[in-house]
């Protein structure tokens, strides 16, 4: 789906818990989300931290949209220390 949208000239950031899937079928800009059941945040966090995490994911997606890529590229939100600290690392 993302590839067909990109074909029309509009960049697409795919936010997903399983980047390997869109990357293997050739999606250009892939952003790692949290988990399948909650891609853009984490209900196990307090609402404030959850919101912060969601914001980082969306900001990474915007960064991806502004990045020149020449093939499938993975973007990782800079929240890994936070997620690992909380025992939520993937």
């Amino acid at each position: 789906m993302a590839k067909e949208i990109e074909k029309t000239g509009i960049p697409v950031a795919v936010l997903t818990a399983l980047p390997i899937i869109p990357l293997s079928v050739g999606a250009a800009r892939v952003v790692r989300g949290v988990r399948v059941e909650h891609v853009c945040g984490d209900p196990r966090l307090t609402p404030e931290v959850d919101r912060k995490l969601g914001r980082r994911i969306v900001e990474t997606a915007l960064e991806a949209l502004q990045t020149e890529v020449d093939g499938p590229t993975r973007f990782v939100p800079p929240d890994e220390p936070l997620m690992e600290e909380l025992g939520l690392g993937v």
Binding site: K7, E37, Q66
Partner: protein, 352 residues
């Protein structure tokens, strides 16, 4: 009895009898002997007196794909403990995370020198991601094909366990891995090309020796130059619909996407929105926050801050669960045309 093949079987939480999507986060469990469809595997092995299922590993679909390293360590421990001569994974049919799990387990077995076989739909995620390393018999989308799949997995699996090298995928009946081997031909390339050309012009059947790659390569769209002037559209495959599902969106194998207005809307509440996705547990979306598959509140926040210029008046929603590639392609193309016409500069697509 020394030539009896010891089989370790891998199943997800559903086929392992643990539960549905609410149990998709369980770590691997190891059981002695066959479980669930493993009984059919056992019967198939025994009918040819070839061996038996010594153990079954059951793992949640989310767990294995989200905690790959930990999950495979535990699978590896089971392999070390039971020392199987063959690993059989699935079959997974068109279940994407299950297929990916089966592929990972097969690769973990291969890394230990243990032959492995799985079965799944040729468009399953497991094939898409790990085709090159997988011996998989093709199955249909439905679990009703269990018996046929199991028989074919056993037939090929026993040959792998005996140390045989399989012939070409098309002849042996497994999903092509995309490997080309040097073989002896009785005819030169020119002669074969000539026969193929003659077959083609006379409308006869022929099989190309070079299979086209499964996925079309698309050049990435150019990046947004100035995001503060950009209009962003939100798209989701999380099955998000207005409460009550007015368009009767389906929970899997969706053929359509729908557009819903978010004009003037700052957040999505569980009273007004729900996910009808049936490929994962929607409890977080439907009891806490639907924006886990459509980050509207955050996008509104950055819109207010002037980080982006605007947000498309509607979001586009489908259910990404067992969607055939051709359908996904058509939907993507329609969405692309709509957004292009609306002057959209970039898309955030949440894929579950």
């Amino acid at each position: 009895m020394s030539n009896q093949v010891r089989v370790l079987h891998y199943l997800n939480q559903f086929f392992g009898g643990v539960g549905s999507e609410d149990k998709a986060n369980i770590p691997p469990e190891c059981h002695e002997g066959p479980v669930g469809p493993g009984r059919l595997l056992q019967a198939t092995l025994r009918s040819s007196s070839a061996g038996s299922v010594v153990a079954t590993v059951v793992c949640g679909d989310n767990y294995i794909v989200e905690n790959e390293q930990q999950a495979l360590e535990e699978v590896g421990a089971a392999l070390d403990r039971y020392k199987p001569n063959l690993v059989v994974a699935g079959p997974a049919f068109d279940a994407g995370r299950y297929g990916l799990g089966c592929a990972l387990v097969c690769m973990a077995a291969n890394a230990r020198g243990i032959p492995a076989i799985t079965g799944m739909h040729p468009e399953n995620t497991g094939v898409l991601t790990h085709r090159l390393h997988l011996t998989a018999v093709p199955t249909g989308a439905e679990a009703s094909g269990m018996q046929a799949a199991m028989e074919r997995m056993v037939r090929l699996g026993l040959r792998l366990a005996a140390g045989e090298e399989l012939g070409p995928a098309m002849e042996e009946g497994y999903v092509p891995r995309g490997i080309r081997r040097a073989v002896d031909h009785s005819q030169t390339g020119a002669e074969r090309a000539y026969s193929m050309m003659m077959a083609r012009v006379s409308g006869d059947e022929y099989v190309s020796e070079v299979q086209a790659p499964g996925y079309e390569t698309v050049s990435p769209a150019p990046p947004i130059k100035d995001v503060s002037k950009a209009n962003i559209a939100l798209v989701t495959s999380g099955g998000l619909v207005p409460k009550g599902n007015p368009d009767n969106q389906v929970g899997g194998r969706a053929r359509d996407f729908f557009r819903y207005s978010i004009d003037g809307l700052d957040r999505l509440g569980t009273d007004d929105w729900e996910s009808v996705h049936m490929g994962f547990s929607t409890v977080h979306l439907n009891t806490r926050d639907p924006s886990y598959v459509l980050p509207l509140p955050i996008v509104r926040e950055i819109e207010r801050e002037g980080v982006i210029a605007g947000v498309y008046s509607h979001f586009l929603s489908t259910t990404g669960n067992g969607t055939p590639v051709t359908t996904a392609r058509r939907m993507g193309s329609e969405i692309g045309s709509e957004l292009r016409a609306a002057g959209i500069d970039g898309v955030l697509l949440v894929a579950t």
